[in-house]
């Protein structure tokens, strides 16, 4: 081939490559590490995170990146297994290119990795860890979902005061999050004068709830409070229907707020009470920008988990913009966060490095989440 022609061709190809896309950056990217469940039981949550984060990063880089440097997320799949999240933490903290970490999903997975981030001195910002002991556990840990210390009393008020149900039974998932969630709910409900008739646990892999439901039914509760994820909740709702136990209300915390619950649960989850920190019909401009962008890119509406991850990555970006890429400077700047306008509400860290959220009461009607209206 003609050498001159080859030279010009390659020049054109290279100039095209460098004028658009990520190759156009001359500066070294800023790396943020991601640890979350991209496969396994919690895959839907982690994949929603990934979508929201990719959307946010796309916008950030299109607008010139962070202080002239592109932002890059390195994704690691933890399956929300504490063994995996700890291994990822080991990998991330030992690589100096990472400035901070976002993740993991369950409180258990976060708390398993926590000592590693703590020892290495790297920010661990979990979008969803709501265990009250997570954020206070290390000066490097931050939680932005709000803790059960806030949601527990909120749900108790919903059950006892709004719905007027005083006879309550609890069926919870036996992990760190489930135990904390039921404890805060029970404490608050008792203070409001409710009677807790029975408390039963199930395990993460359980699929058969007929036995435990039959047992709980014997206590004749008016309301069943179920701290769990959507998978188990859908099965519990279906199996309860099969047992013909209809004279009880089902309620669970905001972890249930996902279209998958409606898809798996079908008509069985109608009438289920839950809560949310993010509601896509919220008219605030930042919410609408996010919802529209997400719908255009993925042809699906974002859920709470996408929203909270979106807030997390935007918050980290904002902090890095102010403080630079030093791991310690990022942490110090993060603690100063005040009224950061997230799509899940304003973020202001308490001295325990978690936040107090505003919740909305929801109820499922005709296969859709709707705002609860008092009669």
């Amino acid at each position: 081939m003609n050498r001159k022609k080859l030279f010009w061709m390659s020049l054109i190809v290279f100039s095209l490559l460098f004028s658009t896309g990520p190759l156009g950056w001359s500066a070294e990217p800023i790396y943020i590490a991601f640890s979350g469940p991209l496969t396994g039981n919690y895959a839907e949550y982690g994949q929603n995170w990934q979508k929201a984060i990719n959307l946010a990063v796309g916008w950030i880089n299109a607008a010139g990146g962070v202080n002239g440097r592109p932002l890059e997320i390195v994704y690691g799949d933890s399956k929300s297994d504490p063994k995996e999240s700890a291994a990822l933490a080991q990998k991330y903290t030992s690589d100096p290119k990472f400035v901070a970490e976002i993740g993991d999903f369950t409180s258990t997975a976060c708390m398993a990795a926590q000592p590693i981030y703590d020892r290495a001195g790297m920010v661990q910002l979990s979008p969803t860890a709501s265990h009250p002991k997570f954020a206070p556990g290390s000066i490097w840990s931050f939680g932005i979902i709000g803790t059960q210390a806030g949601e527990g009393p909120f749900m108790a008020r919903y059950a006892v005061q709004l719905l007027g149900k005083k006879k309550i039974a609890v069926l919870y998932i036996n992990n760190d999050w489930g135990i904390a969630t039921k404890d805060y709910f029970i404490k608050a409900a008792k203070e409001m004068g409710a009677e807790i008739l029975a408390v039963e646990a199930f395990f993460e892999a359980d699929k058969d709830f007929t036995g435990v439901l039959t047992k709980l039914r014997g206590y004749k509760p008016e309301l069943l409070y179920i701290p769990s994820m959507y998978n188990e909740m859908a099965l519990i709702a279906k199996q309860r229907e099969k047992l013909g136990w209809m004279d009880v209300l089902l309620m669970g915390p905001g972890s249930l707020y996902s279209p998958k619950l409606l898809e798996i649960g079908g008509p069985s989850v109608n009438g289920l009470y839950t809560s949310a920190v993010f509601f896509p019909k919220d008219p605030r401009p930042e919410v609408q920008k996010f919802v529209k962008g997400f719908e255009e890119k993925y042809k699906a509406s974002p859920n709470m988990f996408a929203a909270i991850a979106y807030d997390g990555i935007n918050l980290l970006t904002e902090v890095i913009r102010k403080a630079g890429t030093d791991r310690k400077a990022i942490r110090d700047e993060l603690t100063k966060t005040k009224n950061f306008p997230g799509v899940t509400g304003k973020i202001t860290f308490t001295e325990r490095r978690d936040v107090i959220k505003d919740y909305r009461q929801l109820v499922i009607k005709n296969g859709e989440f709707t705002l609860y209206e008092a009669k």
């Binding site: 496969t39 396994g40 039981n41 895959a43 839907e44 036996n174 039963e200 646990a201 199930f202 395990f203 359980d206 699929k207 058969d208 007929t210 036995g211 435990v212 039959t214 047992k215 039914r217 014997g218 998978n231 859908a234 099965l235 279906k238 199996q239 229907e241 099969k242 047992l243 013909g244 898809e263 798996i264 649960g265 079908g266 069985s268």
Partner: protein, 289 residues
Amino acid sequence: MLILAQFINGFTQGSIYALIAIGFVIIFGTMNLVTFAHGEVYMVGAFMGFFALSLWHLPWYLALAMGMGVAWILGFLIEKIAFRPLRAAGHMPPLLITIGLSIILKDLAVILFGAENRPVPSIYGETIKIAGFQISLLQLFIIALAGLLIIVLRLLIQGTKIGRAMRATAQDHEAAYAMGVNVNRVFSISFSLASCLGGAAGVMVGVYYNAVYPVMGDTAGLKGFAACILGGLTSIPGAILGGLIIGIVENLTVQFIASGYRDIVAFLVLVIVLVIRPQGILGKKIRAV
């Protein structure tokens, strides 16, 4: 009343365990071998049932037939690939091959179907009241269906030529061979038949718990095997009894102790029975299907 409800829960679960356990009994009885891929055959049957019910919207009996059919084919292939070439190699190699097959099938299912839980649509969602007591129609349906399959199996084994050949092979396959029984064919049919029952159990579990997922065969295979040992390894009535005992003990444990203890107590019962009666509840000295 609650105890009765837990009994019915346990009976339903137990009749599904019994179907799995019978599969182990047939395989062990005729071939004198144990398979560890039985739970995965059950899982494949369950997925087939899920596809038939929720993607193709077929009626339950077609879904059941398809689940059993796929399991039959899978059983036929497993026997052909893993057992037949190694007939002379003793017990260990086929056992190890089935462990490998179990891992392969599980991972294949994760790749092909995804790791998440698949929702299976409910059938017979209603409950009926008998003497003021509410009973789920689906539970009655599952118990009846399991019973029907067991009766058909009994007729097959007692009343047909191939059933007679199976019983003869179970007693002594060399003698059966000498008498002109096509032992290879008997092995193949026995294995397929056992797998077919596993597939039926899979479809029933999918409908009962509304959940189908790739690793569902792990616990089911273990419980079915435990039921088979409890019953005496080579006795079909024993396997049924073993399955029902495990199912009922599990649900009574949930009622009287806690949900987390169900497997502990179920296996504890197994250990105690084996200590007292090492041959199992209905185990005999002479092997017979």
